[in-house]
Amino acid sequence: MNRRELLLAASALPLVGLAGSASRAFAQGAPEVVIGVLYAMSGPSAQVGIDARHAFETAAEIINGSFDFDMPTAKAAGLQGLGGAKVRLVYADHQSDPQKGRAEAERLITQDKVTALIGCYQSAVSSTVSAVAERYGVPFLCADSSSPSLQRKKLKFFFRPAAQDEMFSAAMFDFFDAQKKKGKKIESVGLFYEDTIFGVDSSNVQRKLAAERGYKIAADIKYKSNSPSLSAEVQQLKSADPDVLMPSTYTTDAILLVKTMAELGYKPRNLVAQASGFSEQVTFDAVGDKLIGAISRASFSLDLAAKRPFIGKVNEMYKARSSRDLNDNSSRELMGLIILADAIDRAKATDGAKIRDALVATDIPGTRTIMPWARVHFNEEGQNPDASPVLLQYTGSKFVTIFPEDVAIAAAIWPMNG
């Protein structure tokens, strides 16, 4: 066998493997629904992907097993609409890169023949992935990307059950208005955001809302993500000294920002974050002592478990895998997969168009989710308009819900650094 023959033989091996696995699947005859999961499993945001994987595995356990939770797909084992079919997840690593995300989405659809896609955390990646899904007519459930621009493309196969940054930011400004009514001083805000679609979109919304509601923008700083140093940026924030600092950053920069602020003697009077890095446990493990009183928007609060005990049980299942509590991101990922599986169940088919119709027809009361949402249904842009966000405040040991008032369990500490 010469070198060329060896290469040919080697390249044929995967084909043999594929044929083998295909025949195995047929032999067993067990129906299966394959869902493609797209997250960064390596690179600076890898931890988010790994936590997401635990969240999806927990969701798959709930869907495939039988649990006494008042949630869609929980009670019966497997998807009843498809004869008890089990959900199988195929993971792809997009490394936070929109181009890799596009290529991986295409691979999942054409090679792994996935029924639907779910992802992608980074809005920039969800943007390219949603375009691929649209082209192939495969539903894309956007679990945890929050850029409003994603839904503006009026895609037919894009569905987002969680809130986006317009809704989140509106909640923040509603909260400011409420604080002002109580006689607290809030005149200016400082925007600090990273330079990809997440940060830029978030700042656009916040800039617009600040103008509409009469808050002065004391600082408007777009910075380079994963910078080795943020000293100059923090100095500008310190000089501007806004009443509320509003960062939109991923985890690495959140840690560096807080450390640099402390080093340069800058204590923001208040900090209200667009979650992301500020909802990650690692950030609080690293610099939590400097974040007492920090507020972050969220889609999730463990406080809800007091009202709906099954949330606590779901959290325990997740914690057994990941050794951390569900947070803003992992809760949306877990719930996202259940909403998607529920639609596939109702569609009684793995055909993209039928699942899309079922997603359009989705109507789940908020009480049947683990989220503080009022209801799950999708408007013509594929956005759930009733995914009510909450604001959480870090007390030094845990997060407590402080807004909106109907779900709040404590009054906000304001200002954070008096």
């Binding site: 777009k222 910078s227 000293s231 100059a232 690495t252 840690i255």
Partner: protein
């Protein structure tokens, strides 16, 4: 922006610049010795940061106390990489440059993957240390102690390097760099000198790692953040020039800080590379490189 704020930004830039110089000098040293660019340089930094973190956790000593241990360890890592990888990459007769680039690049990917597998991609940081979180305030200018310490360590390392160049070993390094074949005639073992050179380069970036670990987050990809800065610093200062690395590191730190002030901060890397391209135009081999 007040004068005070401007001084603050320049002071922060200067301190970071000295640390950049310390990160870059090992890279420059190895290149000067044997014309090999080590693309795993940022990963050496990452290993040193994890080693510092691990030792601090294990011994509960301060990062400053464990620093000599980490530096020693990194010396071994550097020498081992030469003996196990680079030595073989240098044997090729054709496309030697490419083979060296890809072997160290491959090594970088391997180290990153290994770190992610063994240490998980969680962000670590050393919570309490003598210097961590402490700041020196001088008339409204805040100088973080970890960065002051880093700057001083950097200056000390450069002073030590200039002393080494006067010793017999320094002369052997210089001779090997001039003519690899001729040194064999006078009884200098080329491989030994190269292995020590790699060890020294890794030890220097290791020293930078022990400083960074005090105030920066530790993560498998952290090397990439500083790696790019290290390459442009070496290129700006002149490949192989130790003094050039010092000057260029400070320039990079200052330019970065000033760019972030004048232009939107997202453009700050642009300032550094624009400066580098301007230098290429006038002095292609860098500020202090041999023309």
């Amino acid at each position: 922006m007040t004068a005070q704020a401007l001084i603050q930004v320049l002071a922060s830039g200067l301190l970071m610049g000295l640390i950049y110089a310390l990160i870059a000098v090992g890279l420059s040293l190895i290149f000067g010795l044997m014309d090999v660019v080590n693309f795993a340089h940022g990963e050496f930094l990452m290993i040193a940061m994890y080693a510092t973190f691990g030792l601090v956790l294990w011994t509960t000593l301060d990062p400053i106390v464990v620093a000599p241990l980490v530096v020693g360890l990194m010396f071994c890592v550097g020498a081992f990489v030469y003996v196990a990888v680079v030595r073989y990459a240098m044997r090729t007769k054709a496309n030697a440059g490419m083979v060296q680039i890809f072997s160290t690049f491959g090594l970088a990917i391997l180290i990153q993957g290994g770190a992610q597998y063994f240490f998980t991609p969680d962000y670590r940081s050393i919570k309490t240390s003598w210097l961590g979180g402490h700041t020196l305030e001088l008339g409204g200018i805040f100088l973080p102690w970890p960065q002051i310490y880093g700057g001083l360590i950097s200056i000390a390392a450069f002073a030590a390097l200039s002393l080494i160049s006067r010793t017999d070993f320094g002369k052997a390094l210089e001779a090997t760099r001039e003519d690899q074949g001729a040194v064999a005639l006078v009884g200098i073992d080329r491989n030994k000198v190269f292995a020590i050179g790699w060890g020294l380069g890794a030890a220097l970036v290791g020293l930078a790692g022990t400083v960074l670990a005090i105030f920066y987050y530790i993560h498998p990809q952290v090397g990439a953040t500083f790696g790019t800065i290290a390459y442009v610093t070496v290129a700006l200062g002149g490949f192989g020039s130790v003094f050039g690395a010092l000057v260029a590191g400070v320039i990079v730190g200052l330019v970065e800080a000033i760019t972030a002030l004048i232009l939107p901060p997202t453009m700050k890397a642009v300032g550094i590379f624009a400066l580098y391209l301007a230098v290429v135009f006038f002095r292609p081999s860098g500020l202090f490189g041999k023309l």
